[in-house]
């Protein structure tokens, strides 16, 4: 598969003015401004193959938007190399943006006062889309995204979910190779989210569009992405499969057992005592040392069992711990880069 995005040693430093409080501070700010350098993104390297659908995660202020802004050509980095589909985004802006689509969840890229259809039709001459292609694409996306009911409504009167669907359609009409989705499901209800996920999955599989998705909603990632990249404090901390992430950070899984009979002692040698409630017990075990199959075999040898359930900790929990406890920042790194 050809390489779609290559980022090497990306660095972006911002100069931020420090504001001093009070009247004296205001005067000082005016005549002797004090600056502080902030590293938004530091030594980030990764590459995306054509056709991949990758989740880009990180807490607020991690540097996600800065990376997206650089990749979409809006921002020039301080240092590092970026090549997307063979070109440097900010150097050939007008030519480059024809090849990409971008959707920002918190801001529409459509013309606010125009009916959706007018906004979309404006894109045809702007991107020089052949009229026939334009019509067939519009028909297809309109069907898949169910745009018909509100296609004549001005963008400003749309619901958030409708607006997002219209925006995604707009980002794809010119058949970009690459789609950037920045928080595409923010503020949407479950049904609307699912609708958008289905569509994203569809264009990724059917049309081979490479997708880079930033989101706070981990169900987006679980549903769509096999590969995730985690960024925090401007550094890329993890780049690998979603399953691998859980394996690396949540070594303790749990096994819930419903016994068929009442047992006084259900402890297993080498394992901490389970939490018990009536005929039920929950064992916590390190799945790297003891596989669930082995644990179940040992239980079945000793007890009559009615039901079993292995639980991996939810991804949400893992990610929360990664952010909060800065698991990746120092100490154990798993597959981190």
């Amino acid at each position: 598969m050809p390489e779609m995005i290559r980022v090497e040693g990306l660095q972006k430093t911002f100069r931020v003015m420090e504001r001093r409080p009070g009247l004296r501070g205001a005067v000082l700010n005016l005549f002797a401004p004090r600056h502080r350098m902030v590293q938004a993104v530091n030594a980030v390297s990764f590459s995306l193959q054509a056709g991949e659908l990758v989740g880009y995660l990180g807490p607020n202020g991690a540097g996600k938007s800065t990376t997206i802004k650089v990749l979409t050509g809006l921002l020039v980095p301080t240092a590092g190399e970026v090549q997307v589909n063979g070109v440097v985004p900010w150097k050939v802006r007008e030519r480059y943006v024809r090849q990409i689509g971008a959707v920002f969840g918190y801001r529409s890229t459509l013309w606010w006062d125009l009916p959706v259809i007018d906004s979309l039709e404006l894109l045809q001459p702007m991107y020089d889309i052949p009229p026939a292609r334009f019509r067939s694409n519009l028909a297809e996306f309109s069907r898949l995204l169910d745009l018909e009911p509100f296609i004549n409504t001005p963008v400003r009167s749309l619901s958030l979910g409708q607006r997002m669907r219209a925006d995604i359609c707009a980002a794809l009409l010119h058949e970009p190779h690459l789609l950037f989705l920045d928080e595409p499901t923010i503020g949407l209800d479950v049904v609307a989210k699912e609708h958008i996920r289905q569509f994203v999955s569809h264009v990724n599989r059917q049309r081979g569009v490479t997708v880079l998705l930033t989101t706070h909603d981990l169900s987006d990632v679980e549903r769509l992405c096999e590969r995730v990249m985690i960024l925090d404090l401007g550094r890329l901390l993890y780049d690998g499969s979603l399953a691998g992430l859980n394996d690396a950070f949540e070594s303790f899984w749990s096994l819930k057992v419903d016994f068929a009979e009442d047992y006084a002692d259900v402890n297993l040698p080498g394992l901490p005592a389970p939490r018990r409630e009536g005929r039920q017990a929950v064992y916590a075990f390190d799945h790297r040392e003891l596989s669930s199959a082995e644990l179940i075999r040992r239980l079945l040898e000793r007890f009559a069992i009615a039901d079993l359930e292995v639980r991996r900790p939810p991804l949400e929990e893992t990610i929360r711990r990664i952010y909060q406890e800065k698991l990746l920042v120092d100490g154990e790194r798993g597959q981190a880069v």
Binding site: F14, R15, T66, K69, T72, G73, L74, L75, V76, W90, R93, E94, R95, V97, R98, A102, R107, T109, W111, D113, L114, D118, L122, P125, M126, Y127, D128
Partner: protein
């Protein structure tokens, strides 16, 4: 170029369509802004009834100065409304510029197309009325050269004032908030240009000759149209410096704009 122009016209037509939606309030707006602007001339007109002239210029001659610059500024304010610093600072703050940068079309052309305040015809209309009054009342000795040169002067004024809007907007890249001081040379420039230049103290006149060449945009062309002698002793071609001066201003503004835009792309906001 043709493609850009076509797209620009499409963007403008969208603007116009949405502005005409509430017709009554639109025309009320046109009328009252026109009246508001002309009230300043009306004031001068009344005062000159008592005084007869200002620095030797009669009411119709002052009306000529006023009409020219008002028509030009009103037109500029309409065509360059995307570059109006008041508008552009909002544009930056709301992040709309990022959206513009994502589109395969010249950034400047998109900003031109992002706003077209049609109700400025109120200002243009009142300026035109005063200008027509001046042209009818004054006994101008028309020559073919003068007939050709009049629209050239108006165009020069539009471009020069537009350049100032562009500079004002570019400043926003650094300040985010609009820089009100630019009003001194935009709206203030109009005020200065609607009177004979000799009424201003020498230092102020120098400022509006060598730093902002307003004197060549309206006063000197007016001397030529009205066949008035030049009291300041500039070369005889001074009345024809309007277009070169405007083009110089526009070029400088364009350079500054490109510089500001590249700064925006390297620092964000």
């Amino acid at each position: 170029m043709r493609r850009t122009l076509g797209l620009y016209l499409r963007l403008i037509s969208i603007q116009l369509r949405s502005q005409m939606q509430f017709r009554f309030s639109f025309w009320l707006d046109v009328l009252t802004t026109g009246l508001l602007n002309v009230s300043y001339f009306f004031s001068t007109y009344l005062v000159l009834q008592r005084f007869g002239n200002i620095a030797g210029w009669t009411i119709p001659e002052v009306a000529f100065l006023y009409g020219m610059i008002e028509v030009a500024f009103g037109t500029m304010d309409m065509v360059f409304s995307g570059f109006d610093p008041d508008f552009f600072s909002v544009f930056i703050r709301q992040g709309t510029l990022d959206q513009v940068l994502l589109r395969p079309m010249s950034v400047a052309a998109q900003i031109f197309g992002s706003s077209f305040v049609l109700r400025r015809i109120g200002r243009i209309g009142q300026g035109a009325a005063v200008l027509i009054y001046a042209l009818v009342t004054l006994d101008i000795h028309w020559t073919p050269a003068k007939v050709v040169y009049l629209p050239v002067v108006l165009l020069s004024q539009v471009l020069a004032m537009g350049a100032l809007f562009m500079v004002g907007s570019t400043l926003v890249f650094w300040t985010v908030q609009r820089v009100e001081a630019i009003n001194v040379v935009t709206y203030g420039g109009v005020e200065v240009m609607s009177y004979p230049a000799t009424i201003f103290p020498t230092w102020l006149r120098g400022f509006f000759t060598y730093i902002f060449p307003f004197i060549f945009l309206n006063y000197y062309p007016a001397l030529y149209f009205l066949d008035r002698p030049d009291p300041l002793g500039f070369p005889v071609w001074a009345p024809f410096f309007a277009l070169p001066a405007a083009l110089l201003m526009l070029l400088a503004a364009w350079r500054f704009w490109t510089f500001g835009l590249s700064k925006y792309q390297s620092t964000g906001t």
